[in-house]
């Protein structure tokens, strides 16, 4: 410190500082104050409601806590179990099954929902009768609240519900199933409901992306004799790339965090056939009276999502998001 002051001394004494820099300095200080003023409240909320809970969950995950625990429990050395909760989660077939279900939904969404969405968007992007009505119909399930959609499907799919009654009426009685009550098919049923709910959103995104594809290119190609399919295959779909990659990103994160729909329809059952990481976490942490174990699961879910998100951004979204996410506003 002393040397710094000494070295600063002569510089100051060399002459009075010029006026403009001082003004600039106070302006900079004011800008900084403004930033603090405007960002401050949001930052406090973010730290308090996002960062702090994440840290707390990580802390809790090292403890074996009772259902209604108090701060004292964290000071109790007998409650500290180290990595035991993680070991237990990774050795628990139900949890590993839940991880598998998340990745099943993830893979199926990409493989099935994506092509459906692109295909329907391409069809709806042409001038045709009733286009608005089609768009509306496809988008309605997405607008519907998740809980309402889930409960409706739960009622329709129960053994004596609407779907089985419809099959019977159509003479397809042999196809009747216990859609959500049979462990062998419950996850597929869940995937169907999710597709019904979310494919509309994917189609909407793709339609929006198609607006950015210049029509001139398609026109030029068809003048050169390209068929409709060739135009889509070699021009439209490649140009839709950024939209598809963003949709896939949202779909991946949504699949990993899947909770609401499962919770209202099957609550992870029957026999854990539709259990996801998030439902298992709530089942154990909140309803099973084991907040420590639940926290460990929350941390695992967080890490899996984080790693996948970072890897995806690094490799798939790099071009699309250049400068937008990594380098701030320019």
């Amino acid at each position: 410190m002393a040397t710094l002051l000494e070295s600063a001394g002569p510089a100051v004494s060399a002459g009075p500082a010029p006026a403009p820099p001082a003004r600039r300095r106070s302006a900079a200080r004011r800008t900084r104050a403004e930033i603090a003023l405007f960002v401050g409240p949001a930052l406090i909320l973010f730290l308090g409601f996002v960062i702090l809970p994440v840290i707390l969950a990580a802390v809790y995950s090292f403890y074996n806590l009772p259902q209604a625990f108090q701060w004292d429990d964290l000071a109790d050395p007998a409650r500290f179990v180290g990595l035991e909760n993680y070991r237990r989660a990774l050795a628990d077939p139900v949890f590993m099954g839940a991880v598998g279900h998340n990745f099943f939904i993830l893979g199926m969404s990409l493989l099935i929902q994506g092509p459906i969405a692109i295909g329907v968007a391409l069809l709806l992007n042409r001038r045709m009768r009733g286009r608005t009505a089609f768009r509306l119909l496809i988008f309605v399930p997405y607008v519907l609240a998740e809980v309402i959609a889930g409960l409706s499907w739960k009622l329709l799919l129960q053994p004596n519900g609407g779907v089985n009654a419809l099959l019977e009426a159509l003479g397809l009685g042999a196809l009747q199933q216990n859609w959500l009550a049979d462990p062998a098919i419950a996850l597929w049923t869940m995937f169907f409901i999710l597709t019904w709910k979310y494919v509309g959103f994917a189609i909407l995104l793709m339609l929006a992306g198609l607006q950015g594809v210049p029509e001139e290119l398609a026109e030029a190609a068809s003048i050169d004799g390209a068929s409709w399919w060739q135009v889509q295959r070699y021009i439209t779909i490649p140009l839709l790339g950024p939209t598809i990659r963003i949709w896939a990103f949202l779909s991946i994160i949504g699949s990993l965090q899947l909770f609401d729909m499962v919770w209202v329809t099957t609550r992870g059952g029957p026999l854990n056939a539709t259990q996801t990481m998030a439902t298992y976490m709530v089942e154990k942490g909140q309803f099973g009276g084991q907040p420590g174990y639940g926290s460990a699961i929350a941390v695992i879910l967080f890490l899996i999502s984080l790693v996948i998100a970072l890897v995806y951004q690094r490799f798939a979204l790099r071009r699309d998001l250049a400068g937008a996410v990594t380098r701030g506003v320019r």
Partner: protein
């Protein structure tokens, strides 16, 4: 620091009041004498006749105690039990009077010093409910008082039983199995079970355990989590054998217990199943799920039959109740409100409304519902009442146990696995 800021607030407030007074719209100084106590009261009455009863009780109490305001709110049972109350207690902002579940959860709450001991405040009230108070006591101190207590049994469709040629309700397990066979032959689904919610399925295992284990074994399990006795595995074996007779409805693994026409209670309410094993509250649930919202004429009740040749007491019953307790820092008026809720008048009103079975014996006479009367008789005749096992063992063990039992229902896992899961869960405590 704190005191100064309160003074500042007080200053600000009085300045504000002065301004109001100057403006000429100050409230007339009438109830300045009342100390302005507000009691918050959380209960699980959300449908049926009970919400109206509690609302009336709150109003009457306010009238008899000037200056006291009672804010009563009803929440869905599981929501209240699993989320709202634990969070409110842990955050130090608990309601004054609230539903306190007996057994394991009560022990946890007492251990965390969340509850007010009631023995000195309302000894007569505690006395009045007799032995039903036991599950709300820890080490001889009372932390809650049950306002209703009942036992589990079969809610059945008397018309369908008659059509299937069953004259009297089964009194042994063999007769029960025989009855389900007759019902199947007559084209009915014999028994509905809401295994999607786990606990209704688990109750079947509880009943087998209750009728296989001696009262001493049950006691040891509750206090020491000792499940070494063979009877716990036997219960699973009996259940497996019973499941082999195919007594339940299609797709029972996905059936909820009490919500909607497709639930197990709904199946009985709409004549799609002949009976359901369920607690004393089920008449109200079934009534709420019929098209005309009334308890069906054909609904009857009989207790779970004894099992021949097992160590358990054939007249033992499985049951539970709802009770209220006060939080540690509640004002003394809280105990007074509880005393009033437990008074003979309110208990009689509760009984007459058909909401459940009162715990004060003299109020039992006010029961009008024939099914509740039957349950009350069953309770009186039971030699021994075991609290629901999941409640008695607490959340952690109870949850693992229920999961193991549902696995058994789904044909996954063995009777030994259920006991292993219970022991593993107990080891984490």
């Amino acid at each position: 620091m704190n005191r100064r800021s309160t003074r500042l607030v007080a200053l600000g407030l009085s300045a504000g009041l002065a301004a109001v007074a100057l403006a000429g719209c100050a409230p007339s100084a009438g109830d300045g004498e009342g100390d302005g106590v507000t009691l918050t009261w959380w209960h699980n009455a959300t449908s049926g006749p009970l919400p109206a009863v509690w609302e009336e009780v709150a109003a009457e109490f306010e009238e008899a105690h000037p200056g006291v305001t009672v804010e009563q709110t009803g929440y869905q049972n599981e929501e209240l039990q699993r989320t709202l109350i634990p969070n409110a207690l842990a955050s130090g902002d608990a309601p004054d009077l609230f539903q306190v579940w007996p057994g394991g959860e009560l022990r946890d709450q007492v251990e965390n010093d969340y509850l007010m001991p009631l023995d000195e405040a309302i000894p007569d009230t505690i006395e009045s409910v007799g032995a039903t108070i036991n599950p709300w006591q820890v080490d001889g101190a009372t932390y809650g008082v049950p306002f209703t207590f009942g036992i589990e049994g079969f809610w059945y469709n008397m018309d369908q039983f008659a059509q299937a040629g069953i004259d009297t309700p089964p009194t042994t397990l063999d007769e029960l199995i025989e009855a389900t066979g007759k019902l199947r032959e007559a084209g009915f689904t014999p028994i509905a079970v809401g295994a999607g919610d786990k606990w209704p399925a688990a109750h079947w295992w509880y009943q087998f355990a209750l009728h296989s284990c001696s009262p001493e074994t049950l006691q040891a399990a509750e206090t020491d989590y000792d499940f070494s006795d063979d009877c716990w595995v036997e219960a699973g074996e009996q259940l497996q054998e019973f499941l082999g007779t195919n007594p339940f409805q299609e797709g029972f693994l996905g059936t909820p217990a009490q919500q909607g026409a497709g639930s197990s209670a709904g199946l009985v309410a709409n004549g799609q199943a002949s009976m359901e094993l369920m607690g004393h509250w089920n008449a109200g649930v079934i009534g709420g799920l019929t098209p005309d919202q009334t308890v069906p004429e054909y609904l009857g009740w009989f207790p779970f039959p004894g099992i021949e040749g097992s160590a358990g007491d054939p007249t033992a019953a499985l049951g539970g109740g709802d009770g209220f307790g006060c939080s540690k820092d509640a004002p003394p008026e809280c105990a007074e409100l509880l005393e009033y809720i437990m008074s003979e008048d309110v208990q009689a009103k509760f009984a007459a409304s058909g909401s459940g079975i009162p715990t004060v014996p003299s109020a039992t006479a006010s029961l009008e519902d024939p099914n509740l009367k039957a349950v009350a008789e069953g309770l009186a005749e039971a030699s021994f009442v075991q609290l629901w096992f999941d409640t008695a063992f607490g959340t952690t063990v109870g949850n693992a146990m229920n999961e193991g039992i549902v696995n058994l229902f789904g044909g996954v896992g063995s009777p030994e696995d259920v006991v292993t899961m219970m022991q593993d869960a107990a080891a984490t405590l």
